[in-house]
Symmetry: C3
Subunit: 209 residues, 3 copies
């Protein structure tokens, strides 16, 4: 039940980022809603398709579809009153990343897959929606930028797996994982939390690669 609600909030958060992201280009209401829906439902769709579950989650339970649709419409009108859209974009994106990653990790674990698969699918589900959004709105993908993005998702998924191992089915396992991801992302956004330079790939001068 908790996972259900967290999943819904994650969908709403990602739908908002899809709408704000589209603002980089003149788009009409319905195209924006479409981008919002693709952003919010994309990650979980890829997860379910790869895991070969019986039915993709929003086909089985269309309330997900409605939440994605209504959040996008709401966000379309709501963003007009927002002063600092970039900040809302990054907060909502981090929030969605945190929720999607832990919900997916829990779901995959509960389907009986190994921890390695659970962590992989958790990270993929968390980052894929935003990746598609960035590609479609012609922005360099956030997850592949120089910010601390994929690592928090990985650490959060890892925490959920470790907690489930030691205190299985504890109510707040997913909350702890989501908090870890969100806090690390906040540090990344505000404090420029970053890897030491020997863990960065630097292009050499006079080279294209």
């Amino acid at each position: 039940m908790l996972l259900y609600i967290l999943g819904m909030i994650g969908i709403a958060a990602f739908a908002i980022t899809g709408v704000i992201s589209s603002g980089k280009r003149d788009m009409d209401l319905f195209s924006i809603v479409l981008l919002g829906m693709v952003t919010s439902l994309g990650g979980g769709t890829i997860r379910d398709v790869i895991l070969r579950v019986d039915a993709v989650y929003w086909v089985q339970d269309t309330s997900y579809l409605w939440v994605a649709f209504l959040s996008s419409v709401f966000a379309f009108f709501g963003v007009r009153v927002i002063e600092n859209r970039q900040q809302v974009f990054h907060y909502a994106d981090s929030f969605g990343l945190a929720l999607f990653t832990v919900v997916a990790t829990e779901r995959v674990l509960s389907l009986g897959f190994s921890p390695m698969i659970a962590i992989t699918m958790g990270v993929i589900t968390g980052v894929a929606g935003g990746m598609i959004r960035d590609l479609l709105s012609f922005r360099p993908p956030l997850v592949l930028g120089k910010e601390f993005y994929a690592t928090p998702a990985f650490l959060g998924a890892l925490l959920v797996v470790l907690l489930e191992r030691n205190v299985p089915f504890h109510e707040y396992n997913s909350i702890y994982g989501a908090l870890l991801i969100f806090i690390l992302r906040l540090f990344a956004i505000h404090k420029g939390l970053y890897y030491p330079s020997w863990l960065l790939y630097k292009k050499r001068e006079n080279h294209d690669y």
Copy 2:
């Protein structure tokens, strides 16, 4: 049977757009044919994968594959004699959009899914092939441009669902839906049919979002 033929024509139309789109960059015959095939088969593939049907349509019936292949080869040589390629591109794209959307909507309805799923999958099938084409040929996706594109697909799918509700299995239901989409797209292309400005998302000055 009618749906089968309409689907084939849609594949041919989208294959042509894939070939013309590739002309923005120097490409060889086989790469162009590949782009044509991905464009024409991509939307339906995503639909079938999400709906978990028994087999993706072109794997089950390879005549779709042949139509996509031969139309792409034909288009490769055919475009040389076309004077106004941009117009042909937009007409073929609108034609493909119209046919794919209604064929998918009918197919999903006939598989027993709800109208909400049928409309969603109809729109996704109609726009996804062109989206992939635009991404791969490095053009801003048409569907996310400022033109009237996703809305006609949505209205056409809605019309098909309403007609199927009231006059089920009527032969021409899909024809009416396709006509609606195609005519709305023609208006969009030639008359600049567009949303009122309060339904558009405007970037604010001095803001990136």
Copy 3:
């Protein structure tokens, strides 16, 4: 067994290209590893999802996942000592293309699909990972460039199908196919092997298409 090893080598090769490709932008260790893994596992994932096999290969056998992960980490540190990264990128890419195409063609044939499907899926598996890599790192897709890329994959897949028809289950069928692809790619890279101009699509002057 041979196919298994070839598949693993192909994954390692593509992981390296993903890492080198990411060098065009400042990225951290984990994002680069993610791009390497998506590049190396993406093509086969699309193949398995379209063919509706029982389980996607790296979900069933997580050793693929580990090979992709470890090769990416290794490549991240390894590329620092490489002088000519562009050449390594093109060699590893050609190597991965050759191996993935023939492994996929063999696999699809052995699942009982028709030669037409086997060739199509072979080419798709070979080129899709690199396509995703190029899209995510904002480079024009190699396969859609003016270089000889999709054609070698097609010819190699065709050779494998022909060999399997005439000398079924011969040990080296896939080796011959891979060699053909790799050699044709080497010619394309070093000698500019190319189609005659009547098989190229040329943009006309003063036209956008």
